[in-house]
C-alpha cells in the first residue's frame, strides 16, 4: 500500500485503491465512522498513517469526522472523510453549511452506497446530497479509477475551494481488480497557520459564491478524462453509464453482437452534469438507456436537459421500465435492458430437464454461534412474555438489528436508523404517563451508544420517561469488522487511550444502572425482571465479549460441547426441540435420522449456554481453556 513503485500492477480491492489514492494525494488527515461497504478504508489508513506522516482517526460519529476534516482543511491540510450512505446523511447539516463556508486545504468525502442493501438496512443514492449541497461528485467504475480519482478530487477541491464527494458502490468497494500504482509524494505539503483575518464561516451571502464554484467545475467536467465515449460516431442507440453499469454494458453489447451500432457514454465526473459534453452525444441519438446505481439521478437530469434543448428522445432506465426500480445493476438486467434498447434477441438460457424444480431453503441471517446477543434476546422475550402484556421493544443499528427476525426471537417491533431506539422509546415512555399500559424497552450496542445514543439518554432522564435501555456491551463494533470505539481503549493508529466507561457515563447522567452477563442466564433473567418492574430511566448493561472476537483471540482449545444421546429425549421430549428450534444457535443442529439433537463441532464455539437451557440436561460441556 505504501510501496513507491510507480507502474507496478497489483490486485486491489476498491477500498484498498482508495487508500492508495489517498497516499498518492499526500493527505494530512483522515477521519471516519465505520459503515459497510467502505469500513476497511480507515482501518487500513490507520495502519500506515505513521509511516506516511498523516493523522487518521475513527471518529465517534460521522458529524465529528466531517467537522474534524473541515478544521484540518482550515490549516491547509488535505483531509479525507469516509462515510457510508447513511453516514453521509448524518453529516447533512455539516455538509450543506460546510459547502457554503468553503474549504482551504482539499476536503474529499468518500461515500459508499449499498445498492441491493447487501450490508445495510436500506438502499440510498448519495448523489442527491451532492446536488442538494451544491458540491461536485465523482463516481469510479474500475479499481484503477477509484485510486486515480482521489488525487483528482483533491485537486478539484483546492482549485475551487470546495468539498468534493467521491461516490462508491458495493461492487467497487468489495470488488478486486488490477491497479497500476502511481507515484508517492516525497513529503506532504506544509500546513498553513490560520491568520487572524482568515474567515471560513457559513453566512447567507456565501450562497452565491457556492453556486459559482459549482458552475466552475461544470466547465472542467466537460473536459474531464473520466467522461468518455466509445462506439461508432453518431450512434442512434446510446447507453449512458455512471458507475458499475459501464463494464456490464461493454460485455453485454459484445454478447448481443451490437457493438457496431451502440454508443457507450461513460460519466465519471457526473455532478454538476457536464451538459455540453452530454449534449454532443444526445443530439445524435434517438434512444437513450441510462445505467446507474439506485435512483434515476442521471436519467432525470438528462431528460430535463433534453427537454430544455427540445430534443425528442426515447429514454430507457429505472424510470422507464427497462430496468428494475430497486436493486443493483448486474450483468443480466443490463443485458436485458440493452436487448430492449436495440431489439437484439437475448441468448437462450435453459436448465436441463428436471433441474430447478425443488424449492431451495433460503439462508436467513442469524447471530453467530456463541453470540451474546442471542442470549439477551432469548431472556428478554421470555421475561416480557410473562408480563401482563408483551411490552414494546424498539431496536437500533448493529448486529442486533437481526433480532427483529427469527435470529432474535422477533425481538423488537420498530427500528430505523442509528440512535432511533432510545428516542422512540423516550416518546413511548412518556405515554406511560398518559395511559399507555406497556413496558417500553430499547437496545443499543456499545459503539452505537457513543455514536448517537448519549443525547437520547440525556433527554430520557431529563424528561423522566419510563423505559429500560439494554446496552449490549460486547466490546466491539462487530457488525463492520471490529473497529475501535471510545469504549475499547484503542485508536485507529494503534495507540492506547483511556477507555470510556459506559456505566460511569450512565450514572453521571442520572440513570439507574445494573450490569449482567447474558451467559449467566438465571442471574441475568432475575436482574432483567427486577429492572422491568422499575419506573424512570433504567439501563441494564449486558456485558459479554463478541463471540467472533473471542474466537479470534483464543489461544487454547475451545471447550467441547456434545449431546449425550442417552439423555436426549429428542422429538418425544416435549421441549419442542428447544436447543435447535427455539434457542436457534447455528451450533445446535438436529439429526433428522435419529430424531435427536446434536452439536455441529465445526460451527460451535463452546460457549455452553445451550447446556444451561436443555430441560433434559443432555448437552455436555467439557474442557477448554480460557481465551
Amino acid at each position: 500500500m505504501t510501496a513507491n513503485a510507480p507502474g507496478t500492477a497489483a490486485l486491489m480491492q476498491g477500498n484498498e485503491a482508495i487508500v492508495r489514492g489517498a497516499v498518492e494525494a499526500g493527505i494530512h488527515f483522515a477521519a471516519s465512522y465505520p459503515g459497510s461497504p467502505s469500513s476497511q478504508i480507515l482501518g487500513m489508513l490507520g495502519k500506515i498513517a505513521r509511516e506516511r506522516n498523516f493523522y487518521a482517526e475513527w471518529s465517534t460519529n460521522e458529524v465529528c469526522a466531517i467537522q474534524a476534516c473541515m478544521g484540518a482543511s482550515f490549516a491547509g491540510a488535505r483531509a479525507l472523510c469516509v462515510v457510508k450512505q447513511n453516514g453521509l446523511l448524518c453529516t447533512a447539516d455539516a455538509l450543506h453549511c460546510g459547502a457554503q463556508q468553503g474549504v482551504k486545504g482539499g476536503l474529499v468525502v468518500v461515500t459508499s452506497d449499498d445498492p441491493s442493501a447487501h450490508s445495510s438496512t436500506n438502499e440510498f443514492d448519495s448523489r442527491w446530497q451532492a446536488q442538494s449541497a451544491s458540491v461536485a461528485l465523482l463516481e469510479p467504475t474500475t479499481m484503477q479509477e477509484a485510486k486515480d480519482m482521489i488525487p483528482y478530487a483533491f485537486e478539484l477541491s483546492e482549485r475551487v475551494g470546495q468539498i468534493v464527494i467521491v461516490r462508491l458502490t458495493t461492487r467497487v468497494c468489495h470488488g478486486r481488480g488490477c491497479v497500476t500504482l502511481g507515484e508517492l509524494p516525497e513529503e506532504n505539503r506544509p500546513l498553513e497557520r490560520v491568520r487572524e483575518w482568515d474567515r471560513m464561516v457559513c453566512v447567507s451571502y456565501m450562497h452565491g459564491p457556492m453556486l459559482e464554484k459549482l458552475e466552475a467545475l461544470r466547465g472542467a467536467f466537460n473536459e474531464s478524462p473520466y467522461n468518455h465515449y466509445s462506439g461508432p460516431e453518431g450512434a442512434r442507440d446510446l447507453i449512458v453509464a455512471g458507475g458499475t453499469g459501464r463494464l456490464y454494458a461493454q460485455e453485454a453489447v459484445k454478447r448481443l453482437g451490437v457493438q457496431d451500432r451502440v454508443g457507450l457514454l461513460s460519466l465519471g465526473a457526473l455532478w454538476p452534469l457536464p451538459e455540453d459534453y452530454i449534449l454532443k452525444h444526445l443530439r445524435a441519438a434517438e434512444r437513450v438507456l441510462i445505467l446507474e446505481e439506485v435512483d434515476p439521478f442521471l436519467e432525470q437530469g438528462l431528460e430535463a436537459l433534453a427537454g430544455r434543448e427540445r430534443l425528442s428522445l426515447t429514454f430507457l432506465g429505472r424510470d422507464h421500465g427497462a430496468l428494475p426500480k430497486i436493486g443493483e445493476l448486474d450483468p443480466d438486467n443490463v443485458e436485458k435492458a440493452i436487448s430492449v434498447l436495440t431489439g437484439a434477441p437475448l441468448p437462450e438460457k435453459r436448465l436441463p430437464e428436471g433441474a430447478g424444480k425443488t424449492p431451495l431453503p433460503v439462508r436467513e441471517l442469524t447471530f453467530c454461534a456463541g453470540c451474546p446477543h442471542r442470549a439477551t434476546f432469548y431472556l428478554l422475550k421470555k421475561a416480557l412474555r410473562q408480563e401482563k402484556n408483551p411490552g414494546i421493544v424498539v431496536g437500533d443499528i448493529g448486529c442486533y438489528f437481526m433480532a427483529g427476525q427469527s435470529a432474535g426471537q422477533y425481538g423488537y417491533q420498530a427500528c430505523n436508523c442509528m440512535g432511533s431506539g432510545v428516542s422512540m422509546a423516550e416518546g413511548l415512555g412518556q405515554l406511560t404517563h398518559y395511559g399507555l399500559d406497556q413496558k417500553v424497552v430499547t437496545i443499543c450496542g456499545d459503539s452505537t451508544f457513543f455514536h448517537t445514543i448519549m443525547p437520547g439518554i440525556v433527554n430520557a432522564v431529563y424528561q423522566s420517561a419510563n423505559m429500560l435501555l439494554i446496552v449490549l456491551d460486547n466490546s466491539a463494533t462487530a457488525m463492520t469488522g471490529f473497529q475501535p470505539h471510545p469504549g475499547t481503549g484503542l485508536t485507529a493508529m494503534g495507540d492506547r487511550a483511556r477507555p470510556m466507561d459506559i456505566q460511569k457515563i450512565l450514572e453521571a447522567i442520572g440513570c439507574e444502572v445494573e450490569v449482567a452477563d447474558p451467559f449467566e442466564t438465571v442471574q441475568a433473567e432475575k436482574t432483567l425482571r427486577r429492572m422491568l418492574a422499575r419506573r424512570g430511566m433504567n439501563v441494564l448493561i449486558m456485558r459479554q465479549p463478541c463471540a467472533t472476537l473471542k474466537t479470534k483471540e483464543r489461544k487454547g482449545k475451545k471447550p467441547r460441547v456434545w449431546v449425550d444421546q442417552s439423555r436426549c429425549i429428542g422429538e418425544g421430549c416435549g421441549c419442542d426441540k428447544h436447543c435447535s428450534r427455539v434457542w436457534g444457535c447455528p451450533g445446535n443442529t438436529w439429526d433428522f435420522s435419529t430424531g435427536k439433537a446434536q452439536i455441529d463441532p465445526v460451527t460451535c464455539v463452546g460457549c455452553g449456554v445451550c447446556a444451561k437451557l436443555c430441560p433434559a440436561g443432555a448437552i455436555q460441556v467439557e474442557g477448554g481453556e480460557e481465551a
Partner: protein
Amino acid sequence: MIQLKYDPLNIVVCGIGGQGNVLAAEVVGSAMIDRGCRVAVGETYGASQRGGSVMSHVRVSLQDDPSVLIPSGEAHIIIGFEPLETLRIARKYAGADTVAVYDPRPVYPLGVLQGVQTYPDLDALQEEIRSLTTLALAVPAADIAMEAGDSRAANIALLGAFSQVPGAPLSREDLEKILARRFKGPVLELNQKAFAMGCGAAGKGGAQ
C-alpha cells in the same frame, strides 16, 4: 504463457459466511495474477460470518478487465463449501461447460432446524448438481480439515482438490506458492497439510 480455455474464465466460490470464502477467492485471484492474467473479483458477503449465503466471482482474462460479476449461465468452475449453496449457484450460473468441486457436508439453514423449511434430499441434490455440470467432484473438505487439525482450513483443502480437476487453470504448485506467501508459522503448516490432503482426496476419485 498460460492458456485459458475461455476468456474471460469465470469461477464462482460459494458457501456460507465464516467458511473462508473470501480468502479462497483471493488466493485463486492472486495465483492467476502470478500467471500473468488480468483478474477481477466480486464478493457478495454482506452477511459474512452471520450464516447467510456468500459467494465470490473470480474472473480471469488475458485481454481486458472484466466486470466483477459473472452473467448467469456463464460460470466455468464452481467451488462450493456446502451442497445446497453449490446447487443454488449451479442453477443460476452453470452453463454449457461447468465443473463443480464441492463439499457434500450439509449445513442446515436456521429455517430448516426450526422446521419451517425443508432441506432437499441430499442424494437428489447431488444428482441435480451432476445434471447441471459436465463434472462434479464431491470432496469432504471440512472432514479433511478437521483431520488436518482445524475445521477452518476446509477452504484450503477444497482448493487442493480444485487444483486436481482435469483442465484446472491452476496447478498445485501455483497455489502452494500463494499459500507460502500468504501465511506463516503453524497456520501455514496447517493449511499446507489440509491442501495436500485435499489434492489427495481429489485423486482418490471423488469424481462422480
